[in-house]
Amino acid sequence: MIEEIQRHSEALAPRFDGYRRRALAIGLIGIAATVFGYLTDHQQFFESYLLGFTYWVCMPVGCLGVLMIHHLGGGRWGFAIRRMLEAGASTMPVMFILGLPILAGMHDLFPWTHTEAVANDEVLTHKLPYLNSTFFIIRYVAYFAIWTAMAMLLTRWSVQQDQTQETWPTRRMQILSGPGIVLLSLLGTFAGTDWLMSLEPHWFSTIFCAIYILGMALMTWAFMTLVGVPLSKHQPLDVLLTNERLRDLGTMMLGFVMLWAYTSFSQLLIIWSGNLPEEITWYYTRLQGGWLYLGYALIGFHFAVPFLLLLSSRVKSHLRILIVVASGLMFMRLVDLYWITAPAFRDHDGGVLQSVALTPHWLDLAAPIGLGGIWVFFFFGQLKKRPLVPSNDPRFDYGALAAEAQEHGHHG
């Protein structure tokens, strides 16, 4: 059976190479445009680059999180997408390197790096032990070190399980995933605080990073759907990634759309009803002018429309609708992050009620597209490396599944 899976998986390599070529071409064009943007406008470059980075870093981290959920909970959907999740998590070092420009641009992005401004600001002086450049860089390295280590261990054990009938690799993956998911949530909280919340260092919200982490998982479900639908038409995933499993991915998207809406709205409700000067400024800026309409767009297309479409199991069994919803959600994640980050740069002093103009820059699209192309290129590179279906997992028998599907095929 393993040989057969291997053979079918290898047969898909040309298809993956095709995806890689296209992704690389798009990525290089995007990066070239972004570099051109750097030469013309430093400040805008770093702002857009941070958007692209905080967007695409969601993929490897989200894949790692969903992979751990799969190891802890089981379920056939997980076996269907495990190799894709592992491929996604394995791209962690790529995102580490792609994020280095953020460290170079710290001074342009984060107000707490301005020493003289911090010295005159009592609040920021108090936050100095955490919000300082050295510790920021140390934390950046630490997040990626731990994420990469966990991703590598899970991937290696998964490959080892392919080669042995004994169950110790599965056991190890489960043992790591329990504490791992706790650690991942903590790291995600710190990373979200560093990269997003500290853009306005006076402002704080305890649920903010939960929104970011849930967004990572939502993006992962959406991306798995986009990759899974075409793969479900080919061996070896055709018998595993059935329409029911793809519908499961839709159900997961529904769940995380609701979670995103729930946490995002909770943050708004608490801050809006509290109406405290140190909190409300964040929303004040974002609920003025064009930003307000962007906010309505988030309610509509990050929540209402996908929620209503995914609610009905009949609607979400149409693969085309699933693809549209997944693509839409991928895009709305970017809009959400834009709505979070961009006003911060136009309201750098914080703590002041201020209206700012919604002035999107072409770099806000070029940078995410460039980074995305590069990331997708490496993703399919990783996906090519291993058979697309895990073997020997004690909870899952691909052979029986394939035999059953074949039998049904003969009847039908």
């Binding site: 709205f265 708004l268 409700l269 009803s273 109406n275 009905s312």
Partner: protein, 182 residues
């Protein structure tokens, strides 16, 4: 024993099986034979059994959805009426129409109406309460809630014919086939 072959007076014929797989296979064969007035009884959910006896897709989800929408609108309207028309009151300087503050109650009434509507619809669509049902006339049927699986072909089926149906059900290898008195 009645000798009419049309099954007049009987509710139908019931075959008893020992495992869910046997029941599922029997249900599929019976449906495949052309019988449509079928019902299956099992102490545990059997995946695919509903489809096997041709149980129609119910519109309970649509009912839940509509009830939820009504509940949401009602909850929002109630708050609008209270805060804007009937008793406008200044709460901490917030506007009378405080959109975000209306959402939690709107959410709750959505859930409440959807849940109550679903339960009521479930009772009505299942034609409950039903103090009498003929299948309980078969003594073995009490094990339907314990460890036995039953398939009942009802006499209203156009293809129903006491002896023919009985021998067909026998061919499925049940523990027993019993006639269900109406």
């Amino acid at each position: 024993m009645n000798d009419t072959s049309t099954g007049n007076g009987a509710h139908g014929l019931m075959a008893e099986f020992e495992t869910p797989d046997e029941l599922l296979a029997a249900a599929q064969k019976t449906y495949g034979e052309g019988y449509r007035r079928l019902d299956a009884y099992s102490p545990l959910p059997v995946h695919g059994l509903g489809a096997a006896i041709g149980f129609p897709q119910t519109n309970i989800a649509v009912i839940s959805f509509i009830c939820g929408v009504i509940g949401g609108l009602a909850g929002f309207a109630l708050q609008y009426w209270v805060h804007m028309i009937e008793y406008p009151i200044n709460i901490g300087g917030r506007p009378h129409f405080s959109g975000p503050m209306f959402i939690p109650v709107t959410f709750e009434t959505t859930i409440l109406f959807a849940a109550v509507g679903t339960v009521v619809a479930l009772i009505v669509l299942n034609r409950l309460p039903q103090p009498y049902h003929p299948v309980f006339n078969v003594p073995e049927f009490e094990r339907a809630s314990q460890d036995r699986f039953f398939l009942c072909v009802e006499s209203t089926d156009p293809q129903y014919e006491t002896e023919g149906t009985r021998s067909f059900l026998q061919s499925l290898g049940p523990v027993k086939v019993s006639e269900v008195e109406a």
